[in-house]
Amino acid sequence: MLTKRIIPCLDVKDNRVVKGVNFLNLRDAGDPVELGKKYSAQGADELVFLDITATIRSKKTIVELVEKVAENVFIPFTVGGGISTADQIGLLLRSGADKCSINTAAVNNPDLLRESAERFGAQCVVLAIDARRTPGKVGKWHVTVKAGSKPTDIDAVEWAVRAEKLGAGEILLTSMDADGTQAGYDIELTRAVAEAVGIPVIASGGAGTLESLAEVLEKGKADAVLAASIFHYGTYSIKETKKFLQRQGIPVRPV
């Protein structure tokens, strides 16, 4: 049986891992090379590396750092942040990334998803969606871009469906409302997207208690959970997390 994936996320700024609340008030959380090595060895199922400065400063993703992190990561490794062309994806894949996540550039140019899937295969094209609840509308979320700083009028669920048709192989779905709060994932959002698409959905934003991870995997129908703070600050280890999920009857890869 395919297991549910536990994915630590490295938000990287100026070569350091940082973590904020609702994408703001960043705190230092360590060295990306060391953290990547640690999570890979401790039984994480994948690793995500997001260059969070990239879009805002229009800076290229840090290829050299990706190479260094990849040297010690023997689990699938996704890199994102500021990717705007298929050539950049090619460069990152050659640098040791296994998948690339595209966010703002896909909103500006949806054809980038199709082009990337044709060149590199759908399995390495991850569409990242930063979604926020639309005020005054129940069960509606809109897509935000440029690291959450700019709202759009695009419906998050509709965008996910369209991205799948264009060739995205996976969706990394972050709730802007929940991110960094440790108050639990946005179950309703995750479930709405997971039920609308046939590709895997990674739930992100709001990981707090281990119950919250179990909840988004079960009720939210996510295929994978991404978390940052709870792992970086040592609240839970990967092993504890997996043991807990296993006791809840959720299939995970044992470590």
Binding site: M1, L2, T3, K4, R5, S40, A41, G43, D45, E46, E67, A70, E71, N72, F74, I75, P76, F77, L93, R94, S95, G96, A97, D98, K99, E118, R119, F120, G121, A122, Q123, C124, G169, E170, G198, I199, P200, V201, D223, A224, R253, P254
Partner: protein, 205 residues
């Protein structure tokens, strides 16, 4: 020296990193002279198999010649799919024909998400050398929408379940292959690569 055949499709870096990590002497090349001198060959690959076959075509002859000469060959993911007769991904493409069988889409009617993405349990066939020291089965990392159906009683195969029985790994003589990514399957995957290195060294003793 083992050689990772770099024919311009996807990511050879992860495979290189993993072999270096386990302390194996490795070169990345698509030069027939280098390929002929290698103790063993690794054929990686991601993306669509039709496109990959098109890219591998110029050196397909050398690969087949070396395989026929008994040199150990390990296909990984799309490189594994290329070992078979034909792939039906976006049209029909003739592949290397080193293992009898075809590559077809994973059925979507089961309601499972496609790609088959993540860690799945692989049950080994008895005596498969790639899995020496790993017991009866382990979890490995997959990322595939197509799978190979083996059509040859002489090929040993390991399987995983995903709505249908998916071929996870094969061995036939000196031809080895994994649908999953051993280089991305943590300690157990690295053990598979170490086992392949041992196979290569024993073959050329």
């Amino acid at each position: 020296m083992l050689v990772i055949i770099d024919y311009g499709v996807g990511n050879v870096r992860s495979v290189t990193n993993a072999f270096r990590y386990i302390g194996s002497e490795i070169a990345v090349s698509c030069d027939p002279t280098v390929i002929r001198r290698a103790r063993g060959l690794i054929l990686p690959g991601v993306g669509a198999s039709g496109y990959a076959m098109q890219k591998v075509a110029p050196i397909a002859g050398v690969i087949k010649e070396q395989a026929a000469a008994g040199k150990p060959l390990l296909g990984i993911c799309v490189g594994f799919q290329l070992l078979f007769d034909e792939s039906h991904e976006m049209g029909t493409h003739k592949c290397l024909g080193l293992i009898k069988g075809n590559v077809i889409p994973i059925p979507t009617d089961s309601g499972l998400t496609i790609p088959h993405m993540g860690w799945n349990y692989v049950r080994f066939a008895e005596g498969m050398r790639l899995f020496d020291g790993l017991g009866e089965g382990r979890h490995f990392a997959f990322a595939n929408s197509f799978y190979a159906q083996v059509d040859d009683a002489q090929t040993q195969a390991a399987y995983t379940e995903y709505g249908v029985q998916i071929t996870a790994a094969v061995e036939k003589g000196n031809i080895y292959g994994c649908q999953f990514h051993p280089e991305k399957s943590a300690a157990d995957g690295l053990q598979v690569l170490k086992n392949f290195v041992t196979i290569c060294h024993e073959a050329t003793k």
